[in-house]
């Protein structure tokens, strides 16, 4: 009987022995480095950050005076005011893009590229075996179809993890070289139990990365499901990327009119909405979104598993 570890090893071999994979890896490195260079050449620091923070505080206070303000947004504004006041008091400059940590936080935006590449890998992992005709060699071994599917799914997620690690590493190195590491002790200001506390900035960076991963995991799983059901890589890539870019817009419009929009996948993938205090539909919370994501995750995997398990291999 094949063990799962060997099967994953096989899938990794099929991912990393392909030229296309290395093109994707190259593009990711390039994006990270180019992003740092562009930031270096174009970013202008504010002349007087204290004045800007002061005007932000007064702006927030104006807003807080309004009557029909959403409760979560109100709390968010109050926290911002507290944190900004703390800044002025302790002379802590807000995080600038042209610093070590600043660029690293911004590099989390490049995760959408990792998402796209993971979609491509996940979409290919089942569908390619069909288009190459190798599926009939693969499925006549002492390994259950469920195990083979699982190994492919794990390999796709491992690819995502490697790409994220690479992005972080390259961004950190590029950032250190271009912006220096003098500001590495800069603290991250968090609001906890009614007070502002100073924390290590690395926590903030990891949080930025983690929040962006909900999209990544969900779309990779979605692409994987389409790939297993329709056995067509282009279709899986197309549907997943289309959903990735258009899904949030459509959900946004639906959310303005209908309450049930909160049950849609894309109402829940953007977890930063809770950090900003502006959930898409009133009353949505982080645990609610986590729950919905989990349900979709189970659903996608169940569909993939069920169809792959049952169907005749006639390719």
């Amino acid at each position: 009987m094949s063990n799962l570890f060997s099967l994953i090893q096989n899938e990794n071999m099929k991912i990393y022995r392909r030229f296309g994979t290395w093109v994707m890896i190259g593009l990711l490195v390039l994006a990270s480095v180019v992003g740092a260079v562009i930031t270096k050449t174009t970013y202008r620091e504010p002349a007087d950050w204290k004045a800007e923070i002061a005007s932000e505080i007064s702006g927030a206070k104006e807003q807080l005076k309004e009557k029909n303000i959403q409760k979560t947004y109100k709390e968010h504004l109050q926290q911002q005011v507290k944190i900004n006041e703390y800044r002025l008091e302790h002379n802590i400059k807000p995080l600038q893009s042209n610093t070590f940590w600043g660029y690293l936080v911004n590099s989390a935006d490049i995760i959408s590229l990792v998402t796209l590449f993971t979609i491509i890998v996940a979409a290919g992992s089942v569908a390619s075996e069909f288009s190459w005709g190798t599926i009939k060699m693969l499925l006549i071994r002492p390994a259950s179809r469920a195990k083979i599917l699982l190994s492919k799914y794990i390999a796709a997620l491992l690819f995502a993890v490697c790409m994220l690690g690479l992005l972080f590493l390259v961004s950190a190195v590029a950032s250190a070289i271009l912006f220096g590491i003098e500001t590495i002790r800069e603290p991250y200001l968090a609001y906890q139990n009614g007070t502002v506390v100073e924390k290590n900035m690395v926590i903030y960076v990891l949080q930025a990365y983690a929040l962006n991963c909900a999209d990544l995991v969900m779309m990779a799983t979605f692409a994987f499901m389409i790939s297993a059901v329709f056995r067509n890589q282009s279709l899986a890539i197309g549907l997943a990327t289309f959903s990735l870019f258009i899904g949030p817009q459509i959900t946004f419009f639906l959310a303005m009119k209908f309450d049930w929009a909160k049950y849609l996948l894309f109402a829940n993938t953007n977890l930063t909405q809770y950090i900003d205090g502006m959930p898409m539909v009133k009353g949505m919370t982080m645990p609610f979104s986590m729950m919905m994501l989990f349900l979709y995750f189970i659903l996608f995997n169940a569909i993939a598993w069920f169809t792959f398990q049952k169907r005749d291999i006639a390719a």
Binding site: S2, F19, M137, L138, R141, P142, S144, I313, A314
Partner: protein
């Protein structure tokens, strides 16, 4: 002896179409068994069901007595197969392909991989990418992946496809050796009768998804059709034979007189001819060719 492979009343429906009707057969260790039928007869579909790529609508496939449908992993363990073309990962080398399949079973060592590579004669090109291989080399690599884990049942779907006559002969000799010396049960499919004749001990003829008959190559070639008597004078002999066997259809050709006759009757007729003062120059048994028998069995259908 227990059969290594048993098909019991196997049926396959796809949609509303029945592709395989009630197919039953048994294959034993040490024999090369053929599946013969024209394109679209259902050979590949049958093989797909045997190796678990397709579900079985009704009936049962047993490998070593284990049901492929109920206990797939255990049943497939001792099977090596190529279904249709030997498709490999083209962006990997031949060796990497073999590593890939070796990892999926237990007990395949590096020495075994080297041994199989030698066996199929790919040692000079095994570290090249498969996309640079010719069809014949891919067939060899396909055979290597099928043999890697020392299967007791080897299934090859149209293995001679794209091979030249020398390659076909090589495969034939090799399969026979595997069956005789290592006791494998081997199934090969083909749409060519001559190949079946060359490679197999027994073969099943399949047409439109139905089993027409199972034949043994040896017995088939033994069946007598006619006896040719070269005699003089012909007219007198014809008369004599006709009176002796009034209901038999006798033909007179350039070579002599052809009589559909039972084996045992040959000495009797010879004696009668000698008694009748007829000179006998030759007696020749004309075995019915496999081709003729085959056309008879399939109702003169389109198999080459």
């Amino acid at each position: 002896m227990n059969p290594l492979l048993q098909l019991k009343h196997v049926r396959k429906e796809i949609g509303r179409k029945t592709i395989i009707h009630d197919l039953s057969l048994e294959v034993f260790a040490g024999e090369v068994f053929g599946l013969l039928g024209p394109n679209g007869a259902g050979k590949t579909t049958t093989i797909r069901m045997i190796v678990g790529l397709m579900g079985i609508t009704s009936g049962e496939v047993l490998i070593n007595g284990i049901s492929i449908a109920r206990d797939f992993e255990k049943a497939i363990q001792h099977v090596g197969a190529i279904v249709e073309n030997p498709e490999m990962y083209k962006f990997l080398t031949g060796y990497q392909n073999l590593i890939h399949y070796a990892r999926m079973t237990t007990g395949v060592t590096e020495e075994r991989i080297d041994e199989v590579v030698q066996l199929v004669g790919l040692e000079h090109r095994i570290h090249d990418k498969v996309k640079t291989y010719s069809l014949g080399m891919r067939q060899r690599l396909g055979l290597a992946q099928a043999l890697l884990h020392r299967p007791s049942l080897l299934i090859l779907d149209e293995p001679t496809n794209g091979l030249d006559p020398a390659g076909i002969r090589e495969i034939r000799d090799y399969l026979r050796k595997l069956a005789r010396e290592e006791g494998l049960a081997i199934i090969v499919s083909s749409h060519l009768l001559t190949e079946m004749e060359m490679m197999c001990d027994r073969f099943a003829i399949i047409q439109h998804g139905k089993l027409v008959t199972i034949e043994s190559v040896q017995e088939l070639s033994k069946q007598i059709e006619k006896v040719l008597f070269t005699v003089e004078p012909v007219e007198k002999a014809l008369q004599l034979i006709q009176t002796r066997y009034p209901h038999i259809n006798i033909t007179h050709t350039d070579q002599g007189i052809e009589i559909p006759l039972d084996y045992k009757e040959i000495p009797n007729l010879t004696a009668a001819l000698v008694d009748g003062q007829i000179n006998i120059y030759g007696i020749q048994v004309l075995a019915k060719s496999l081709e003729e028998r085959f056309l008879e069995m399939t109702g003169g259908n389109e198999i080459v």
